[in-house]
Subunit: 355 residues, 2 copies
Amino acid sequence: MVGASLKDVAMRAGVSVRTVSNVVNDFPQVAPETRRRVQQALEELQYRPNAAARLLRAGRSGLVGLVIPEIDSPYFGELASLLVQAAQQYGWTLLVDQTNGDPDRERLLLDGPPGQIVDGLVMSPWAVSPAELRRRADAVPLVLLGEQDAAGLIDHVSVDSVAAAAEATGHLIGLGRRRIAAIGVQPHLANGTAQQRITGYRQALRAAGIPHDPALEMPVTALHRADGARAMRELLEGGHAPDAVFCFSDQLALGALRAALDHGLAVPDDLAVCGFDDIEDGRYGTPSLTTVAPDKAGIAERALSCLADRLKRPPTGAGRRRDPEVPSGDAPPPARRIVAAHRLVVRESTVGRPG
Amino acid sequence: MVGASLKDVAMRAGVSVRTVSNVVNDFPQVAPETRRRVQQALEELQYRPNAAARLLRAGRSGLVGLVIPEIDSPYFGELASLLVQAAQQYGWTLLVDQTNGDPDRERLLLDGPPGQIVDGLVMSPWAVSPAELRRRADAVPLVLLGEQDAAGLIDHVSVDSVAAAAEATGHLIGLGRRRIAAIGVQPHLANGTAQQRITGYRQALRAAGIPHDPALEMPVTALHRADGARAMRELLEGGHAPDAVFCFSDQLALGALRAALDHGLAVPDDLAVCGFDDIEDGRYGTPSLTTVAPDKAGIAERALSCLADRLKRPPTGAGRRRDPEVPSGDAPPPARRIVAAHRLVVRESTVGRPG
DNA sequence: CTGAAAGCGCTAACAG
DNA sequence: CTGTTAGCGCTTTCAG
């Protein structure tokens, strides 16, 4: 006893499957009396439309996927949660998967079951290049998250990292700091996040006439607390002690903060610390963390609305026909680059306790 | 140009779909030469098996679902990440969804697209009762996470929360504390987590001959930092100042910690704080947090191995026939209750800085 | 307004 | 070893 099919319901109600289908899908052209009978049969048999069959035939599952490098990681966690909720507004169910930044897994999720079953995908790529993603975007409507330079190839939403990093650095400069370190350089990653943030950082220094010291730009392998702590320790032990540090993520900042405290430094008096992401831990730690807050809700909302626009076009399913000779009438709309808002949130780690 | 089907490949290779299917599924009985030809056609046409069709026909998608109340929330985030990785060992792709503890959404995910498309489900229910879940477990193999009393109805893995809470409380008592508060009572929730932890807490107090003071047992509406901070403030302002507090989650503890610090208390001297979950924030905060560490990797591994056992039984797909008259030979194995390990991790929030 | 029937892409009897 | 074919459950065209 696994589930009743349309046929079962049709037999019970004494109608054809067509009519049952019409009722299930709320099509108007059904006589009230017929509809009633069908609905009763539906109820009695506990009918649930088979998602696989629907998908095969209609090419729509009502599912959208979110593919991110790490689910644990407060930033992506918060974003995922917001996307799940935003998706409900569109009548979609959002499913999340994790790549760990592994290129093979990024490809697998795109090509395999999740990518095929889903009506559209929101993805934050770390390893696969925009050009390669572009090819898959023919198969699944795709919206990218993050700063990688998709160069107009794919729909894409992110904050202006260059400007945000410049603001954060400017805030530190405004506090009178001069030896400002940057933690979070990641030359090996395909996504341009770190690249853009270091650019903004340097811009702000230059604008203030502060010479740029490469020894203060710390690379990391990942954006976690441990990496931030390690970088801070190196800075402190290397004799390059800064009087402020701008970290490319809150997790890095939290790690750096802990390392500085362990080192006997007072924050913010000896060292001002600024992060990026505005995760919850930063708000409740001691001292609380000054940070760049991307408009996460806005990012979620705009990513999905962007996806919704793509999905207005014909579904990829059933009646589809792949005929290279006959180009599909109207060209797809050009890729969009959406810039989400951000703001600098000043807290204790740069200005101390109020009162 | 959406994708080549088996038929397309068959035509190109000059064989039947059967043979192509055999090659794709790595069946041995294919002549080497034929196999080669087919493989080439596969390659040229960039063939990807259609997941929907496969699922419809074979009743297997290779996907498993994880349904949790909140994706943001470090504990579930870490668990989700571990489950994603463990699933790869089994050749499954794990998809995560969030319910916010909403009963309707819990049901929806079980009945609708995600629940139907997936081969099995790992779920941490908050609102739907075990009895109701039991009914759905006929449709999807289901493994529960957390403490709710499934009473032998459904496979189920969790730590021994009573014992763990007693250990944590015992640690506080061993430190010489006597006015030990508990933060995290949740009488309204269907999952028995809070209930079990308060039970362990009281057990430990009783064992130490410490009278139990209801004014020290603080209810919360959610397990977040803000709730922990609020409860702590009430405790402090209500004149019931404790000398120690056991919080039912690390997030609560982190919130309580911040509130205590804001209040001018020294931790652990004036107030010792212990949490539950061992999330990363607790390890890197100042002071670092003493906590009960559930063996998350073990939970993930055992949940999936449990699911794997269920999946050895016939798939729910295609050839299935629902005939109430003919009971399916062998009864399903009885529900299992798996207890995962935990240990108390002592850090600064109860014993101060070492050295 | 409703029925009959084709077929989405795949797997797996059932032949040969 | 390989070909033919019957569906899985659904949507949808085409007729009434």
